[in-house]
């Protein structure tokens, strides 16, 4: 029963897909194929990233992480969260486990928000496409504004959220 409850959104969407296929077979088939493709892509990206996260959890001491990404880390914190967001590969859901672990290890909320922001605005592989499709000016406005905005957001989030409360939810434990 517990397992079924975990998959309730998935089951609901499967039913939606079946209904769509009945209404429009072509659309249903296309949705099915696109879903298959995304699942393959996910299996390419997610497992190795989760292995990194697991190794990070076991090998990096809390003190070290606090030094480089804790709320007092200043310039280092900005640099590391930016670097991790920029070299990232994959959609945002891949970033969530990474961010959650960094938070658990003592990274400042400010840098976590900034890291997620960098992931969604300034990923290097994506920048190449953006630059070639929309030009330098558009790209510079996008990343420049995006990064400043999310840094300021990080400062605001730090005021409103309690670090201990966010860390309570640990996804590396068995559910």
């Amino acid at each position: 029963m517990k397992e079924i409850k975990k998959y309730r959104f998935f089951i609901l969407l499967v039913i939606g897909l079946i209904v769509l296929t009945f209404i429009n077979r072509e659309m249903g088939w296309k949705a099915f194929r696109l879903t298959g493709n995304s699942i393959v892509n996910m299996l390419v990206l997610l497992p190795p990233v989760l292995i990194f996260v697991g190794l990070l959890d076991k090998w990096v001491e809390k003190e070290t992480l606090i030094k480089y990404m804790g709320s007092e880390s200043g310039f280092y914190g900005v640099l590391f969260s930016l670097l991790m967001g920029v070299v990232a590969a994959g959609p945002l859901y891949v970033a969530f486990p990474i961010a959650a672990l960094l938070l658990k290890k003592g990274a400042g909320i400010r840098y976590i928000v900034f890291f997620l922001g960098a992931w969604t605005t300034a990923k290097l592989p994506v920048l190449v496409y953006e630059f070639s499709s929309f030009g330098a000016r558009f790209t510079l406005i996008h990343i420049g504004f995006g990064l400043v905005f999310f840094y300021v957001m990080g400062l605001i989030f730090e005021k409103f959220f309690d670090h201990r409360q966010l860390v309570k939810l640990d996804i590396t434990e068995e559910a």
């Binding site: 949705a31 194929r33 390419v44 989030f157 996804i171 590396t172």
Partner: protein
């Protein structure tokens, strides 16, 4: 695909280094990775299915028809709506945006669409919520939406 090969190769190298230094820790790391995978799998599968469904319904010509150059503020609102719900692999986002502009969509509207596609994920909120709690997940998405709207405004003022 190349990305995947590189990622798996690095993961394998790191795992073997870790294994030679400390077997127990390596086992622990793998166990943690496996638990994470099991915990996120239901949500990730739901996201995948949602991506498939939304992409089969929201075709480029359909989006172009909603966010034409004359669509103004309403076009921006439609874009932010579509972008917040749909999820598209990020390397597809910009080529898609360029195709939309070619087909007559307005630049600020397309800017909103692309930015919300990458930064706002209503579909992934259940997963985000599990890891950071409800209020954090909702606030982060709301702030990303605000960022996208402001970005579109800047593009509107500076580039049109």
């Amino acid at each position: 695909m190349i990305n995947g090969v590189i990622l798996y190769a690095i993961a394998l190298v790191l795992l073997s280094i870790s294994y030679t230094k400390d077997r127990q820790k390596t086992k622990g790391a793998l166990l943690k990775a496996w638990n994470m995978f099991r915990n996120v799998l239901p949500d990730v599968l739901a996201i995948m299915l949602f991506v498939g469904l939304s992409l089969s319904i929201l075709t480029p010509s359909f989006i172009s028809s909603m966010v034409g150059e004359q669509s103004g503020i309403m076009g921006v609102i439609y874009s932010s709506f579509i972008g917040s719900i749909a999820l598209i692999p990020s390397f597809v986002v910009f080529p898609l945006g360029a195709a939309l502009v070619h087909n007559g969509a307005g630049l600020p509207q397309v800017a909103t669409l692309m930015s919300t596609l990458m930064a706002v994920g209503i579909t992934s909120i259940p997963m985000e919520q599990k890891m950071f709690g409800r209020s954090f997940a909702y606030s982060r998405n709301a702030s990303a939406l605000v960022m996208s709207l402001l970005f579109s405004l800047i593009v509107w003022v500076v580039m049109t």
